[in-house]
Amino acid sequence: MIVVAALAVLLPFLGAVGGLLGPRSVRWAAWVAVVPAAVSAVLAAWLAIGRARVSGTLTLIETGSLPISVGLDVTELSALTGVLATVVALAVQVYSVGYMRYERRYRSYSAFISLFTSAMLLVVYAADLIVLYVGWEIMGLCSYLLIGHWWEDRANSRAAVKAFLVTRLGDVGFLFGIFVLGFGAGSFRIDDIITRFPEMSPATLTVGTLLLLAGVAGKSAQAPLHTWLPDAMAGPTPISALIHAATMVAAGIFVVARLFPVFAAAPGTLTVLGAMAALGMLGAALAALAQDDLKRVLAYSTISQLAIMAGALAARDADAAIFHLLTHGAFKALLFLCAGLVIHRVATNLMSGMGGLRRVMPITFATMTVGFAALMGLPPASGFFSKDAALAAMGEAARGGVLNTIFYGTALLTVAVTGAYATRAWLRTFFGPPAVTADDHHTGEGPATMLWPVVVLAVPALLLGFAVLTPPHLGTAVLSVALSLLGAGVVYAVWRRDRVRDPARLLGPLRVPFERAFYVDTVYSTLFVRPVWALARLVVRTDDTVVDGAVRGSGRTAQGMSGLLRFAQNGNAQVYVSGLLAGLLVIVIGAVVLG
């Protein structure tokens, strides 16, 4: 079985290599992208169905300190997440064949997705934290490469750099967290860490998990490291669907769940996680309410939904978090792919350029409606069940303290806002008067390779909730559906009054701050980016004037002294003799003193 896991990881990698180095034909690239993804999906499913824990170590790498064990360890959680990752990846690969096939750089694009799939699987299946970190970072790289896929546009390039750097900032902490836990447990093996955490001091646990949390926040776009995600929407839509909605961002949640016993032993960390989640879910939801760019709406909603998962984790319910992770993966991928279809059709990201599309794109309309329903948590869509589980967990935790109560309240408020922004996006896209688009040479909904994945994804988005046979918690269920509908109702009411204008006008003076996501970017730019640039310029100046200046100065000093000495060499023999005698006198005096 371990071979199966290894193959699942390796095949997409080989696919990436084959795609990059293979013949220059789109057909080859497409095959080499889709087939490994499909096989991996099958293998991942096999592992998940087998339900047996699979683990194996290829080799131990002696580092001189704790060894690194190169191995895989497929737990139940890993297997499930693996299925999610591979299925979404397969969907995206197939979808991309249609979406990107006329793209000049399809080869590298699909290869990077394959590489990403491989890295994600490595993260999911890794038995060792360092190995996990390897995959973790490679995912970051792929994300960078894919966001910057249309690098001709400087904005994309900037977004890619930003995404990489912000996540890397978290990753530095993540790596240090690995060190702390690894040394605490005397091993980097996840298993050892989970079994040995009682031996660690509370301080070690808290510090280690907090540091890991930094990485989680970076990857899963949690406050305060969330700012890269909305910008990352600059990448091709399938990428937004795959990486920035369904899988990569889920990696952070996955890691916390994977190490959950350790996190559970560090209450301080969970409180911090809860606070981050509370801040993130409401803030992002509010920001989503004011965006005009459809993909940015979805991006902020991703942040918000991930925060809900984090909230569930903070409430010590890892299952609820993973449940929501899975359903979210499905419905958010669906939403993005639908958004991709829409954008493909109208050639703009902005909702002000859409409207009335339900007639033109009925399939998209239907599937996206499912997606939005799941997002809002309306029964019977999958999101209803998972969100309910998460909310119930948080409600349960709320009994334990004031802070937790506040978190729970925030979560409920978020549900209402979610209802509002989802409805706004739904209405602005598919209803109202059709916007006139200059570029209307696309007819129909799009190529089959794009439609099929959407339809396929709609099924789990709708039905995945029933897979987990836990009945909804009645109280929270009713409350959340009611809140969601309340939010939706308010937006609908405003929209009804004027079907052309944006219901976000309801926000009044708050609209701009919301749209700018509370100016976090600006603050970061002032606080960090600009000082670093100033510092860099200062360093260059210092290097030239002080550090190198000292070097050059010593050269000049030597030259100057040389000039002084040359002055004495004026050719007059009597000057020479005078110097000689004066020097001799000094030496004689010296000798006499010494003698």
């Binding site: 060499q569 023999a573 020479y576 020097g583 001799l584 010494l594 003698g595």
Partner: protein, 495 residues
């Protein structure tokens, strides 16, 4: 009163005797043979033969391997002329260097403006002095030998009678030299006064009973004696004459001054300070250290901005004197390292002078030339350029010039071992400064000549080429197998 009639060991004094005889022969031949280019060559060859004969005698002495002493007085036994290890090294060095200088002279004299007989005669006289000096074991002998080294050089410098610069150089050399000699003699007289003897062997003993020995007089006397030798090695503050004289004198004379005369100076220093050791080393070692530091620093700084090749070599040889002095600044045991460095230095420096001679001969407009004139030498005469580059790199002390590197390592080793860290650091910095000008010059050899520069004739001179070859071979041998030098200069042999 015991007899003071001395028996003479002629084998011991055979080398200087051979040289002196050759000198007379040369003078006679010059007087009786007709003038002409062929005679010039003949005289050169005779001189060369004489030097080689002396060298052969020296080798014979070395092979025999025992210390020869002559001109001795009884009770307490003290000899004025001793042929021991140190004598052999310095004399051998002077003679081999003499061969190269004679080869350079042959080229210099080819022009016919300089009287040949006198030239060779004076050259041989200098060599007599240079090989007598390391054998001297009393102050009279030392003074006379030193004068024998100096006086002919004044004349050699001035022999280019038509050249005002040569005369000027001679005046400067003469003036500084005679003042130094006078100072030295004054020191000798004082030393005689406080020790009651002129024999080096008796100095230490003589000082013990003398009431004046408790005063500062012996220290002062020692410093004054050193002055004469310090002038020879161009140590600070006796350095000022060096560049002017090197520039004004003809190149063979400059080479002679920088190697033979300098070696004689060091021989004297080592004899007075280390072999005789009239005073405890605590008095003179710090002084020598300070002088060494000053000498290398001043020499290097002055060389740094030099555009004139010979002046640069002059100041660089001042700096090199500082390096040679440095191990003596670590203690008497440093003499071995000083000798080792001197031997390496002689080969490298003579080589450099020989190539400069070769290049300046190729274009008589250049009196040694500025560094600019060396640009693109690699294209004009690759062999000369490579040789010069090799010597310069050696002088700088970097591989592939391993000879220079090992020489410096030997000195550094002595300094570190002797615990004179400050001097080691000063020398380290000086090495870097030194590299600056050596590297600049070397780089000039390999960079293309400025466009529009006249096509310079290729360097061609058989004798000088042989001289260069000797230096190259010596330096390469020293590089590959430096142990040869370490063997001769090893400390145990000095005792």
């Amino acid at each position: 009163m015991t007899s003071v009639i001395q028996s003479i060991d002629y084998f011991a004094i055979a080398p200087p005797l051979a040289l002196a005889l050759t000198a007379c022969v040369v003078l006679l031949l010059d007087a009786f043979l007709p003038r002409g280019p062929r005679v010039r060559g003949t005289l050169g060859l005779v001189t060369l033969a004489g030097v080689l004969a002396a060298l052969a005698l020296l080798v014979a002495q070395a092979v025999r391997g025992q210390t020869l002493a002559t001109f001795c007085v009884p009770a307490p036994v003290a000899c004025s002329y001793v042929v021991d290890h140190i004598t052999l090294i310095f004399a051998g060095l002077a003679l081999v260097a003499g061969v190269v200088v004679i080869l350079l002279s042959m080229e210099e004299l080819a022009g016919g403006e300089i009287p040949v007989g006198e030239w060779y005669f004076l050259l041989l006289c200098t060599l007599v002095g240079a090989i007598t000096l390391p054998a001297s074991r009393d102050l009279v002998m030392l003074v006379v030998a030193l004068e024998l080294v100096s006086l002919p050089v004044f004349v050699l410098t001035a022999l280019r009678r038509y050249d005002g610069r040569a005369s000027e150089a001679a005046v400067k050399l003469f003036l500084v030299s005679v003042v130094s000699t006078a100072i030295m003699l004054f020191g000798v007289s004082l030393m005689y006064g406080v020790s009651g003897t002129l024999h080096l062997a008796g100095l230490q003993q003589g000082l013990v009973g003398n009431p004046l020995a408790q005063t500062a007089v012996p220290s002062a006397a020692l410093v004054l004696i050193i002055a004469g030798f310090a002038f020879k090695v161009a140590a600070v503050p006796f350095h000022s004459w060096a560049a002017d004289v090197y520039e004004g004198a003809s190149l063979p004379v400059a080479a002679l001054l920088s190697v033979i005369s300098k070696a004689a100076g060091f021989a004297g220093l080592i004899l007075v300070l280390v072999v005789a050791q009239p005073l405890t080393s605590g008095i003179w070692v710090p002084l020598v250290a300070v002088i060494a530091a000053l000498t290398m620093t001043v020499g290097n700084l002055l060389a740094m901005r030099q555009a004139h090749a010979v002046r640069l070599l002059a100041w660089s040889s001042v700096a090199q004197s500082g390096y040679i002095l440095a191990p003596l600044g670590a203690g008497p045991d440093g003499a071995g390292a000083a000798v080792v460095y001197l031997v390496f230095y002689a080969a490298m420096n003579l080589g450099a002078f020989a190539v400069v001679m070769l290049v300046s001969r190729a274009d008589s407009r250049l009196g040694g030339g500025t560094l600019q004139d060396y640009r693109g030498l690699i294209f004009r005469s690759p062999a000369a350029a490579l040789a010069l580059a090799f010597f310069l790199v050696c002088l700088a002390g970097l591989p592939p010039g391993l000879a220079g590197l090992f020489a410096k390592v030997a000195v550094f080793r002595e300094l570190v071992d002797g615990g004179v860290a400050w001097l080691a650091i000063v020398m380290a910095i000086n090495t870097v400064v030194g590299l600056y000008y050596y590297a600049t010059w070397t780089a000039a050899l390999f960079s293309p000549a400025p466009s529009g520069a006249p096509e310079l004739p290729r360097a061609r001179s058989a004798q000088v080429a042989v001289g260069v070859a000797i230096a190259v071979v010596a330096t390469v041998v020293f590089s590959v197998s430096p142990q040869l030098v370490f063997d001769v200069g090893s400390l145990s042999a000095l005792g």
